[in-house]
């Protein structure tokens, strides 16, 4: 079977370079690439909206919207699109900024044709690791709550058809208000909460049709909050049942102690002056709640020192900060979590490593954990301090 051509979009305000790129890349790629070019960001966005693009390569220095701004925009709108930054004047600072903002590669423009051939080989290699068609990596980030929120905010009229293993239900949205839900023999809020408690399945957005009756009249914001609360309560009771930990149920110890002869690890309640309690309006999964409340009173692995929480941030996978404590640069931390999530997804391609849970950065006296959950992400930075006084702390 003939392989589908990869669609590669090059964006640069240098029209001569675009022409050269079109010719060279088509020559190197033969029948495997369709090379598309755009002279500015607005044309590029138009092309992206029109159809599938497998790889986007763009100049960092462009008028009106520069490459870093463009990258941020792309990361929000097309998080799974492979993005490569091309520059005439590379710097380590810009390279790190671009990688943090979602670029796969940061490449310096070559001076000769041989250099362009290397770039073609690199880009070709990159496209080989692109996820296949479908929803890989997307379903993890889109929950029913998000879909309903978007439809309600946009004041749409739709029917959300939800199917899971043994469940089939519908939620009716009219002019941005949830007016009816049904699931088997349940109706109204009971059916709505049952559907939103599902952790996996499929959904379709169908054209609106009148429901047989109107069973819901409350505001959609309240309904979604209540459903989230009930779902978290459900997961909490599940966590209390014996069994192996899954995902966030497994809280990484900030400073784990050696197994042999080590004292049992204890978690203490938050103390005055420690991490404040989670904001009352933010509903956190029980495991995150416990970690957040643990604050500085984490296990004491060494006699002369104790761990201290220096910074904490929890955000949604859409980048909304749900809670932060002593976080000097929340946007930077959200960007870091997005980067970790993206890299973990790429790293796992072709390797039987299973689902990603977290990274741990273990320094001499510090520990950072970046954990990606199905619907939230967590950043925690801790340091080890001497019992007598303040110890080392590192990081912005």
């Amino acid at each position: 079977m003939a392989q589908k051509k990869k669609r590669i979009l090059f964006v640069d305000d240098d029209l001569t370079l675009l022409e050269i790129l079109q010719q060279l890349m088509t020559h190197y790629a033969g029948e495997t690439w369709e090379v598309i070019t755009a002279p500015d960001v607005s044309k590029a966005l138009g092309i992206l909206q029109e159809g599938r693009i497998d790889l986007l390569v763009f100049d960092i220095h462009m008028p009106v919207v520069d490459g870093v701004q463009f990258l941020g925009l792309l990361q929000r709108k097309y998080p799974n699109l492979l993005k490569v930054v091309l520059t005439g004047a590379a710097s380590e600072e810009t390279r790190a900024t671009c990688l943090s903002s979602g670029a796969e590669l940061y490449i310096e423009k070559p001076k000769d044709n041989g250099g362009w051939q290397s770039i073609h080989a690199t880009l070709h290699e990159l496209t080989r690791f692109q996820p296949e068609d479908g929803f890989r990596g997307v379903l993890r980030q889109v929950g029913l709550q998000d879909v309903l929120q978007m439809e309600c905010l946009a004041r749409h009229s739709v029917v959300l058809h939800i199917r899971a293993e043994s469940v089939d239900g519908k939620v009716f949205v009219k002019d941005g208000q949830i007016i009816h839900a049904q699931c088997a023999d349940r109706k109204g809020e009971e059916a709505f909460n049952q559907l939103l408690s599902l952790t996996g399945g499929e959904f379709d957005l169908l054209k609106f049709s009148q429901p047989p009756e109107q069973t819901i009249s409350g505001s959609w914001e309240f309904l979604l909050m209540e459903a989230a609360r009930q779902r978290d309560e459900g997961s909490e009771s599940e966590a209390e049942t014996p069994g192996p930990p899954i995902g966030m149920q497994e809280i990484p110890d900030m400073f784990p102690v050696p197994q042999s002869g080590a004292p049992a690890i204890e978690r203490h309640a938050a103390s005055p002056g420690g991490a404040p309690a989670i904001l009352p309006q933010v509903e956190l999964p029980p495991a995150m709640q416990r970690l957040a409340e643990a604050g500085p009173e984490l296990p004491l692995p060494a006699e002369a020192s104790r761990p201290r929480t220096d910074e904490l941030l929890i955000c949604s996978l859409q980048g909304e900060v749900l809670h932060e404590w002593k976080c000097a640069n929340p946007n930077g931390r959200v960007g870091f979590l997005e980067f970790v999530s993206q890299k973990a997804r790429q790293l796992a391609q072709g390797l039987p490593v299973g689902d990603f849970d977290r990274i741990e950065v273990n320094g001499v006296n510090t520990r950072v954990i970046a954990q990606i959950q199905a619907d939230r992400a967590l950043f925690v930075r801790c340091s080890r301090v001497s019992i007598e006084g303040e110890g080392n702390s590192f990081g912005a």
Partner: protein, 126 residues
């Protein structure tokens, strides 16, 4: 192959399998890569691709002013332990997950020490 990368390849070729060790890979600061797999599922291309992600992470960690150190990627079925040398070379070692068969932590430590010393004049493994 560059002269600076040769010691890594030599060291990697001699690296002995250890309990729970699945594969390892090295990437130099100038982008050279080499890998060694002890199980068939960890292919060379995927390992070198993984190390590129690891190298990117170290750079972003530095950019975010997070204290440097060993990075552990925790997946459901495996762990990836990584370190970066002062010269920018990165090592990644995949091991089994502790919830499964686990891995020999002493051997892992020894590999990191050898990696840090590889090609350094006067070191044991130079």
């Amino acid at each position: 192959m560059s002269e600076t990368f040769a010691p890594f390849v030599q060291w990697l070729e001699q690296a002995a399998p250890f309990q729970g060790g699945l594969a390892c890979a090295v990437r130099s600061a100038d982008g050279h890569g080499a890998s060694r797999s002890w199980v068939v599922e960890y292919g060379e291309d995927s390992l070198e691709h993984a190390l590129r992600c690891v190298a990117d992470l170290f750079q972003v960690i530095h950019h975010n002013r997070i204290a440097p150190g060993r990075v552990r990627w925790v997946f459901g079925a495996a762990l990836l332990h990584c370190e970066r040398r002062p010269d920018g070379a990165c090592l990644g070692i995949f091991t089994a997950h502790p919830n499964g068969e686990g891995f020999d932590a002493e051997c892992l430590e020894r590999m990191f020490v050898e990696f840090q010393n590889a090609g350094v004049p006067g070191s044991v493994s130079a």
